[in-house]
Amino acid sequence: MDDSMTPPVETSASRSRGTLTRVVRVAGWTSIVIGVLILGFVVQQLFVTTWFAQQHQTALTEDAEEHFAAAEISEVDYVPPSPVGSPGEGTVTPGAGGSSTDEGAPLGPKKRTLLVESTPEKGSAFAVIRIPTIDRLKDGWAIVEGVELRNLKNGAGHMPHTPLPGLPGNTVISGHRTTYGAPFHEIGELVPGDVIEIDTALGTHTYEVRETIIVRPTELWVTEPRDGAWLTLTTCHPKFSSRQRLIVFAELVDGPNWEAIYA
């Protein structure tokens, strides 16, 4: 080291170089922090939420099986509004109630017997959905009662106030498409004729896909009651966005209550 060297004189050029260095350093660190935060977001949403959902699924599937064994099943009388598929669907025929005229000719639809199970508790697993043509769902995914955020973090959710699977009307089930295990990730690939099975305490209800549509999240009509027994699956659309909803309509084609509803 040469002590006789004179200290460097700070010129305006070296000052501006120092400022530039600081700016570049701050910009660099800011970019790194933003990058780490974005990477953390992606990891948390795609992997951490899925890991939690899978942990819950294991327990919920066991809970559903316990529910199958413990659920109270009863028989109730059912009068279809009118023959399914006939003109004037959805209207109640005068004299409905299964009675006959004096001449013995049926006045209204024949009274039938439906199997029903007790309403599950909010948040509890009561059914399992299986779609053989979708890898993620071919082994089954537990369905819980309720469609609040905390319910859907655990499994697919059954919308309260819509019928339980296998019953007449429109059963609505919602599920995540990209996070929390993304049970409905691939339901956009379903085509008419594909089979959806739902196991409940009553048995296995088999539905066949009829139609897939895309709607706005506020289009409540998709949840309205329908003649016959229908299943409506709802999920976010497009993938990685909650801007719209992908809706899959499926109709009951087999199961413990099929004959009572359609025969």
Binding site: T49, G157, S174, H176, P217, T218, T223, S242
Partner: protein, 49 residues
């Protein structure tokens, strides 16, 4: 970061504990923020209405 850590009160073991608690709290808060963003923008669960 190093200056923040050295500026924490107490002896070194206490600094380590305080830093760990702050880091865990920050991660928990961050995950809640991530969850909120994800639920509102990325995937709300597909509910209607």
């Amino acid at each position: 970061m190093k200056q923040w850590f050295l500026g924490l009160p107490g002896p070194m073991p206490l600094k380590v504990v305080v830093a760990a608690v702050v880091a865990i709290a920050a991660i928990v808060v961050l995950f809640f923020v991530y969850d909120w963003i994800g639920t509102n923008l990325l995937d709300s669960g597909g509910t209607i209405g």
